[in-house]
């Protein structure tokens, strides 16, 4: 009986090894799938060449979907913000951050923004019963980040009306279209729509940057090391061909770097639905 169990384990391990030859990668659905795919493809091709594997994109529509797939062992690698990672890590310890991507400003941190169309019409005193567009519950700049900003402005989501729209650009365009009074989204993305009149009203505290997270149940430590080394050692010339959010370099990251997030009270109390 013990021998049978042993052979089954060996066979399963072999099956995992075989499946790991094609790595499944899930990008963060921050922007449109076309944009996401076009930004990630050069980097993934580089990694595939370095590792000698094939890397497929598994596009998910929400962070929750990614987390579910990750837990279900359908994803080997994922591009996650700090909130989804912390959330994932709480229930799935096999998630391991590999590197964090620097932002355009050069550091491995980013901020969330509260974006409005008419700055004068959205002052702190009036932040009440306003319609606010959010990305996703598990998005860092969704409920989590926006709540922090509103707290800074002396308000909260609860005294306003908020709704999850999904992607950051949807949030930005929703505000531009005038469908919402404000929107919570990643600051860098909000600034991309400035030409449409979108204004960053306020920013959150810096958050750990977006990280590449590996499923150590499916990816060996050796391969994770290779991925990290490959991304750290990539030449500048090559890196400039990558997507706009990915070409600024990476730095190593460890799970403890997310402790600052874990200590925030809202982390565990994020509503999954909007309030209107």
């Amino acid at each position: 009986m013990r021998k049978i169990v042993f052979f089954l384990m060996i066979a399963m391990a072999g099956a995992f090894q075989v499946s790991a030859e094609t790595l499944k990668f899930s990008p963060l659905p921050m922007e449109s799938p076309n944009t996401v795919a076009s930004q990630w493809r050069p980097l993934l091709d580089y990694l595939a060449l370095e590792l000698g594997v094939t890397i497929e994109i598994d596009y998910s529509e929400s962070n929750e979907q990614i987390i579910d797939k990750f837990k279900a062992g359908k994803i080997d690698l994922a591009y996650l913000g700090p909130l989804p990672y912390v959330t994932l890590k709480k229930t799935f310890s096999a998630a391991q951050p590999v590197v964090v991507f620097n932002e355009k400003n050069g550091g491995p941190f980013y901020t969330c923004a509260l974006a409005v169309l008419d700055e004068s019409a959205f002052n702190a005193k009036s932040i009440k019963n306003r319609t606010i567009a959010l990305t996703q519950p598990m998005s860092t700049c969704g409920y989590f980040g926006t709540q922090e900003i509103l707290h800074k402005l002396g308000s909260s989501l609860e005294v306003n009306r908020y709704r999850y729209l999904g992607q950051h650009d949807e949030v930005a365009l929703g505000v531009v279209r005038g469908e919402f009074d404000a929107g919570g989204l990643k600051t860098a993305i909000a600034r991309k729509y400035a030409h449409l009149g979108l204004i960053v009203k306020a920013e959150s505290s810096p958050m750990p940057g977006l990280a590449l997270v590996a499923n150590i149940n499916r990816v060996s430590a050796e391969r994770i090391g290779k991925i990290r080394n490959a991304l750290l050692a990539v030449k500048e010339e090559m890196r400039q061909k990558w997507g706009e959010n990915l070409r600024n370099g990476v730095v190593p990251i460890k799970d403890s770097d997310y402790d600052v997030m874990r200590n925030l009270p809202t982390v565990d109390h994020i509503p999954t639905q909007g309030n209107f």
């Binding site: 799938p33 076309n34 795919a37 994109i57 598994d58 596009y59 531009v176 030409h195 009149g197 979108l198």
Partner: protein, 837 residues
């Protein structure tokens, strides 16, 4: 021939198969092209549908004043918030468009920069003219344009309209439809088809934002073409192709028609069999407004008609092969018959060609259809100039009518009536010669219909001429025979009257004729062998003269004796061979003459001659003795006279002195005469000592003595060198001294005395000639020239005894030679003599 036929049919078969196959391929190609045309129509309908949606948008929404004003404020830089305002204004319409499948809505400035992308609002301000021809056209030519383009974000079918505020050109607006939308529309029209869009790699690479390029992968059909979103992970990606079509693509990638067709940018369709299913695959090029090929829409549809066409093609090929090879077998049989016919015809041609009779084939009107070589040879007309002509007009000559008149012509009549005609006619050759011919005319019929005649003729002119000549020859021969008989009778009469006996024997020595004299002398022996009849011998006579004549063809004469009547008689028998005109020996004539009387007369003559020779010999001996005796007495008289002259000369009177000198002179002459006579006698008696003599040297020696003796004379002497004779040197010297001495003597008085000695060889002998230009003599006295002591009248004025030439003649004759002379009085003489060379 059969091999050539087989090869010809094989070639025709192959050609037919090729043509049928080509036709089948053509039909298939036509059907496939129809498939391509259907694709084109479907595509056009789909594209037009979206164009209609865009036009509605333009008219109903965008061309509203407030929208145009907002655009104007934005693109003209009057209002920074106009872009956002425009986005807000048109967002609902854009949503509506997206629901209809129109994915892109894009505004551009008049100078070709992106103003607002509804499908990518974060991207703006980039130049478009270089990569977007439709936008350039719309803004530069200010007209709406349509076309497929590979944009900076994605490829699509673009509808671009210029925007105006009044007459002010503000820029342009476009809508874009992805292939997914187009293919969905097309699928609604033709649900049995699947579609694929492939893009030219070079166009994609030059157009896209760099970050968009990774969304494209190598197309499954060709390396030079890309496939948008090959993993079909994007929401805008079209429906994935079925597994059967994907398997088909693997085949098409190896297909040279695809590999060569796609880069050409032309529409094409092809049929392909995969997994027992026939598919029609059409490739429709998609071009930008400038005609540049950017992409292909590939349509896949199952095509059972291809299987039907294929089956129909194989059946056609089979039936065509069957029909053709059946035709081949029939042709082969016909060919065999034709070959036999040709061989038969060839044999006939050979026969007619070698026949010396002229042959011509005529139709019922007498027109010549064919001739043989002998025809042209006899009549002189070549085949080309006579074929198709009425033969009668050309060569039939009616002796008693005009040449061209055909009325009553027996040949034409026979031809027209289908009768056989045979007879002699006159034909006229091309040169105008009239010849007699034997003509045979045989009618020719095809089945029961008379359709011409075969006319054969033979030139009998020569034969007739020969016949005439033969008759003349016979007549002449009869005359000749008559003449010969006459001559024969005459000859026989002569022979019969001849005193000589004549007997004629054939080559077997059988007596075939005897004349009367012979019969009288030896009896009649006709038919008997001559040696048995005449010599009573059983065998041929050993020395038979007639046999010798038969052997050498010469006349043989023999004398013999016989005693036919107890009296010895002498006969001369002359045997003569007799030949016919061809030289063949046919007989021998034996002539027998009785020469008994002649023999007796000759016997008496020989006896008399002998007596005379004896008397001459004795006379010469006497003469010699007498000369010697006279010479001794004369010597005493001369000695006594000279003593008297020496002792008493001075005392003698004049008369005595004269008498004494006369005595001494006469003695001297007597001495000379006696010496000459002794020489003559000596010559006659002396034995000959023959040896080779150089006559030239001997003559020069003798002449030099004469010149010394008469130095005052101008003698011109020419002696040919190296004249050699065989003789007695002493005697020949005496002879030359006499002849040359005479030449010197008889040229005295000539101012230019010429003497020559020459020789020539004739019949093995040397003929020596000694010539001078002296006094000569009359040839009438030539016979007296060599008589001793006889002097010619012309020589009497010169000294001499007349014994010299007699001596010369005797010397020459003793050498077996001859001597003779030729002369002209006053001009000179030439003496010839012969000696053994």
């Amino acid at each position: 021939m059969r091999l050539a036929c087989a090869m010809f049919f094989f070639g025709i078969w192959l050609l037919s198969l090729a043509l049928i196959y080509r036709h089948g391929e053509g039909v298939q190609k036509e059907r496939l092209n129809d498939n391509g045309h259907v694709l084109s129509v479907i595509y056009q309908a789909s594209v037009n549908m979206y164009a209609l949606s865009t036009e509605i948008l333009i008219k109903d929404v965008i061309q509203k004043n407030e929208v145009i004003e907002t655009i104007a404020n934005g693109v003209l830089g009057k209002d920074e918030k106009a872009r956002g305002a425009l986005y807000r204004m048109l967002a609902p319409a854009y949503e509506h468009l997206k629901q209809q499948g129109v994915n892109q809505l894009h505004f551009h400035t008049a100078d070709g920069y992106s103003y607002l992308r509804f499908h990518a609002p974060d991207k703006f301000g980039d130049p478009l003219f270089d990569t977007r021809p439709t936008i350039r056209l719309a803004n530069t030519q200010k007209r709406s344009t349509f076309g497929f383009e590979v944009g900076k974000v994605a490829s699509g079918f673009r509808y671009v309209y210029p925007l105006f505020r009044g007459k002010q050109h503000l820029g342009s607006v476009e809508t874009g439809v992805t292939f997914r939308s187009i293919s969905q529309s097309m699928a609604k029209v033709a649900p049995d088809r699947e579609y694929l869009l492939i893009l030219r790699k070079d166009v994609v690479n030059r157009s896209l934002f760099p970050e968009q390029r990774p969304l494209y992968g190598v197309s499954p059909l060709h390396d030079s073409f890309l496939l948008e979103d090959p993993e079909l992970k994007l929401p805008s990606s079209p429906q994935p192709l079925s597994e059967r079509v994907q398997a088909l693509n693997a085949r098409l990638r190896e297909d040279p028609r695809v590999q060569n067709g796609l880069p050409a940018g032309k529409p094409f369709s092809l049929g392909i069999n995969n997994d027992d299913s026939y598919w029609a695959v059409s490739f429709m090029p998609v071009n930008n407004p400038f005609g540049e090929n950017l992409a292909y829409i590939v349509s896949y549809t199952q095509a059972p008609f291809l299987a039907d066409l294929r089956r129909e093609l194989w059946w056609t090929l089979f039936l065509a092969s069957l029909a053709l090879w059946s035709l081949f077998l029939i042709t082969l049989r016909l060919l065999n018959s034709h070959v036999k016919l040709l061989e038969e015809k060839q044999r006939l041609v050979v026969i007619t060609d070698i026949i010396t009779d002229g042959i011509c084939l005529m139709d019922l009107q007498g027109k010549i259809i064919e001739t043989n070589p002998a025809f042209s040879k006899i009549l002189g007309y070549s085949r080309d100039e006579i074929i198709g002509e009425i033969g009668h007009n050309f060569f039939h000559y009616h002796e008693d009518k005009t040449f061209f008149q055909d009325q009553g012509c027996p040949i034409l009549s026979a031809i027209k009536n289908g009768r056989i005609y045979s007879g002699e006619e006159l034909f006229k050759t091309k040169e105008g010669r009239i010849i007699t011919v034997e003509v045979t005319c045989n009618p020719l019929s095809k089945e029961t219909d008379l359709n011409g005649a075969l006319v054969a003729f033979r030139d009998v002119t020569v034969r007739n001429n020969n016949q005439n000549a033969l008759e003349k020859a016979n007549h002449a021969m009869a005359m000749a025979i008559e003449q010969a008989n006459f001559e024969r009778e005459k000859t026989l009469s002569i022979l019969e009257t001849m005193a000589d006996g004549i007997s004629i024997q054939d080559p077997e020595l059988r007596v075939i004729y005897q004349n009367a004299a012979h019969r009288n002398r030896l009896g009649e022996h006709l038919g008997e062998l001559c040696y048995q009849a005449y010599q009573k011998r059983p065998d041929v006579c050993p020395d038979c003269h007639l046999v010798q004549s038969f052997a050498d063809g010469q006349v043989h004469i023999r004398e013999t004796t016989a005693s036919p009547a107890g009296e010895l008689r002498h006969f001369q028998i002359v045997s003569t061979p007799l030949f016919d005109s061809s030289g063949k020996l046919i007989a021998g004539i034996e002539s027998v003459r009785d020469i008994t009387e002649r023999i007796r007369a000759e016997e008496i003559l020989r006896h008399k001659t002998s007596e005379l020779e004896q008397a001459n010999f004795e006379l010469e001996a006497f003469n010699y003795s007498l000369s010697h005796d006279l010479r001794s007495h004369l010597a005493r008289i001369t000695l006594a006279g000279e003593s008297l002259q020496e002792l008493e000369g001075d005392s003698l009177g004049e008369r005595s002195k004269y008498s004494l000198e006369t005595i001494l002179g006469s003695c001297q002459k007597m001495e000379d005469l006696i010496a000459t006579m002794l020489t003559l006698a000596h010559i006659s008696r002396q034995e000959l000592e023959l040896q080779d003599i150089n006559l030239s040297i001997l003559a020069e020696d003798i002449c030099s003595e004469f010149i010394k003796a008469e130095p005052e004379r101008m003698l011109n002497i020419k002696i040919s060198p190296e004249i050699h004779v065989n003789g007695d040197t002493h005697m020949i010297r005496v002879a030359l001294q006499n002849l040359l001495g005479n030449a010197c003597k008889y040229t005295r008085g000539k101012e230019n005395a010429l003497i020559s000695v020459s020789a020539s060889r004739q019949d093995g002998r040397m003929v020596v000639a000694i010539a001078d230009n002296g006094a000569g003599f009359d040839m009438a006295e030539a016979e007296k020239l060599f008589r001793p002591f006889h002097r010619l009248s012309s020589s009497r004025k010169f000294p001499g005894f007349g014994i010299g030439l007699a001596t010369v003649e005797r010397i020459i004759k003793r050498h077996g030679g001859e001597i003779w002379a030729e002369a002209v009085p006053g001009e000179g003489a030439t003496f010839y003599f012969t000696l053994p060379g």
